[in-house]
């Protein structure tokens, strides 16, 4: 059975990853939409910034976050004063790091699914009297749902396993910022932690398999939704 400590680590990891996804998804959808549909100045810049977390060493991303969102960083000050949100050495910081690291993985499948939608369908909806919001809700969102789900599953897995940026930005504080990967790392550092690390590694594998099964189930449900209408 799971020990209390292990349960705490798992729940924290899930909380961090879920929060990261919930916060990043709307912005990721908007960025994917902009990249898929609009031709504007700075489009390639936006594309580069979106891809950056994927190619930068995670330690660098974590350091940039530390400098800007840390206790004395300008963005950290802003979010504390305006939003009342503290990131430095908190689980919220771990969620922020996870969200940023997962962002490119979230944007790409959504963008691909948006690009696959015939813009003519949106025109057709317009001539039928639909405003922007209605077109979004009734045409664009349903048709890009497979891409959104793929992005969320990929991003969630990435957020769950994030290591480098998290440890650099919010350190490795048990009960606060010590997610699964960080805990495994800590146990491996200690001479007596092999067994505990092994248990957590097993849990990670189970979580990963669970995520894969869940995504298979979701996509088969989506496919079935299309097929059942065929008879």
């Amino acid at each position: 059975m799971l020990t209390g400590g292990e349960l705490q680590i798992i729940l924290l990891s899930l909380k961090v990853a879920a929060t990261a996804m919930a916060a990043a998804l709307p912005l990721a959808f908007f960025v994917a939409w902009a990249l898929a549909r609009w031709r504007f100045r700075g489009r390639s810049l936006l594309q580069a910034i979106t891809t950056l977390p994927l190619v930068l060493p995670p330690v660098v991303t974590g350091y940039v976050l530390l400098v800007s969102f840390g206790a004395n960083g300008p963005l950290g000050w802003l979010s504390r004063e305006v939003l009342g949100l503290e990131f430095a050495f908190r689980w919220t910081g771990a969620a922020l790091a996870a969200a940023i690291m997962a962002f490119p993985l979230l944007v790409r499948p959504i963008r691909l699914s948006l690009e696959a939608i015939d813009p003519g369908l949106e025109e057709a909806a317009k001539t039928l009297g639909a405003g922007r919001l209605r077109v979004l809700a009734t045409v664009v969102l349903p048709l890009s749902l497979p891409g959104i789900l793929a992005g969320v599953i990929l991003g969630f897995a990435k957020a769950l396993g994030e290591f480098g940026a998290t440890i650099t930005f919010v350190s490795n504080i048990p009960g606060q910022t010590q997610t699964l990967s960080l805990a495994i790392y800590s146990f491996l550092q200690s001479p007596t932690g092999d067994m505990a690390a092994l248990r957590l590694i097993g849990i990670s594998v189970l979580l990963a398999i669970g995520a894969i099964v869940a995504s298979e189930w979701v996509s088969s449900r989506l496919a079935a939704g299309g097929a059942s209408s065929r008879d």
């Binding site: 057709a124 317009k126 039928l128 009297g129 405003g131 209605r134 045409v139 209408s229 065929r230």
Partner: protein, 369 residues
């Protein structure tokens, strides 16, 4: 009565479109080769393109006037657009597709929904998805969806182009029904002269981004100077006749044409016979009309109409086109130049136009009044 007024100039890259015409109720066909600007015209009327200069008016409302800075958004224009590629929403059933248009504008009720479904004969399809429909079924659903939005104008972009001959034949009657049952103007883009001969009340001929000519379809078909656009080999005229009675014994219809009786084949299904007194549009190809200097009784051709020659147009090939009047209607005959010389056919001569009954286009259309 003018229901529709269009005066637009659009620039898109190298392509420039200029069009200025008016039309009334019924079907106005926009005819021209691909690249003539037909689709651009429809998209501008729908508000999907931004014109350089425009005055677009239908249903008693100006929806675009660049000088007065009027531009009604596409979603508020109340156009029913039937796209060439249908554009049905793939994730919705046929029922939801059709109902989609009903929400934005004034909401038509269940009664109107049922009426439109029946008009297009798609009762059986309501719970299916677009991906499972045939081309003709998809087209009918797209038309139903456009009608359901309670439009002030119907825009149809080559609605039959993607269908094979048999499917076209099956959809045409639906289009004729829409024309006769709804009072809204229909802009109908096509490059098929047969569709236009059958459906169009008003014809707008376009070429290279400009309107060549526009007017009553039969009147334009009767002209001799539009062969370059309407096809001189395929030249035909549209005659207006009144159906009198059906001779069941021979399967022939008696039609009154300018006081003369012509015989033509009845429809394959007697159910499709019109009511006596109905005005019909008859199409006759010029190549099916022979000329005789005297009436003949020793010949199989039963339809012999006295005609006064108005014009003899010699082509640069072996043929000439004779244009003459039968009563008040124009008839064309395409014969060899040699025959013209042998018979010494000249304007002002009275001759007889000989038309075999089988030469009348059997797909009869009721004329609009």
């Amino acid at each position: 009565m003018t229901d529709l007024r269009i005066d637009i100039a659009v620039k898109a890259g190298d392509f420039a479109l200029e069009a200025d015409f008016r039309a009334g109720q019924g079907i106005t066909a926009i005819f021209g080769q691909s690249g003539a600007g037909k689709s651009t015209l429809l998209r501008t009327v729908a508000g999907l393109m931004r014109p350089e200069r425009a005055h677009v008016e239908f249903g008693g409302q100006v929806v675009e006037d660049t000088e007065k800075r009027i531009r009604v958004a596409a979603r508020k224009r109340r156009v029913g657009f039937v796209f060439q590629d249908d554009r049905l929403f793939p994730h919705m059933t046929v029922r939801r597709n059709i109902a989609y248009g009903a929400r934005g504008n004034a909401r038509p009720g269940q009664e109107q929904f049922d009426g439109i479904i029946a008009l297009l004969g798609i009762e059986e399809l309501l719970d299916r998805r677009p991906a499972t429909l045939s081309g003709g079924e998809r087209k009918r659903v797209a038309i139903a969806r456009a009608l359901m939005s309670d439009p002030q104008i119907l825009l149809m972009d080559e609605p039959l182009a993607s269908l094979d001959f048999a499917r076209r034949e099956r959809i045409m009657p639906y289009l004729e029904r829409i024309r006769s049952r709804t009072r809204i103007p229909i802009l109908y883009v096509s490059h098929e002269i047969d569709e236009i001969a059958r459906l169009a009340d008003t014809l707008v001929i376009m070429s290279q981004g400009k309107v060549v000519v526009s007017g009553d379809t039969a009147a334009l078909f009767a002209r001799s100077d539009l062969g370059a656009y309407l096809g001189s080999h395929q030249a035909s005229v549209l005659l207006r006749g009144i159906f009198r009675r059906y001779e069941a014994e021979y399967g022939l219809m008696q039609v009154d044409l300018e006081g003369y009786t012509v015989f033509l084949l009845g429809p394959p299904d007697r159910e499709d016979l019109p009511q006596p007194g109905t005005a019909l549009r008859l199409r006759v190809h010029a190549r099916d009309v022979a000329i005789s200097l005297t009436p003949r009784s020793d010949i199989s051709v039963r339809n012999q109409l006295p005609m006064v020659i108005e014009e003899v147009v010699s082509g640069d090939d072996a043929f000439a086109e004779i244009r003459g009047m039968v009563g008040l209607q124009v008839l064309k005959s395409r014969i060899t130049r040699k025959t013209v010389d042998d018979l010494r056919l000249r304007p002002g001569m009275s001759v007889y136009a000989m038309i075999k009954s089988i030469s009348f286009d059997r797909r009869l259309v009721q004329e609009h009044d």
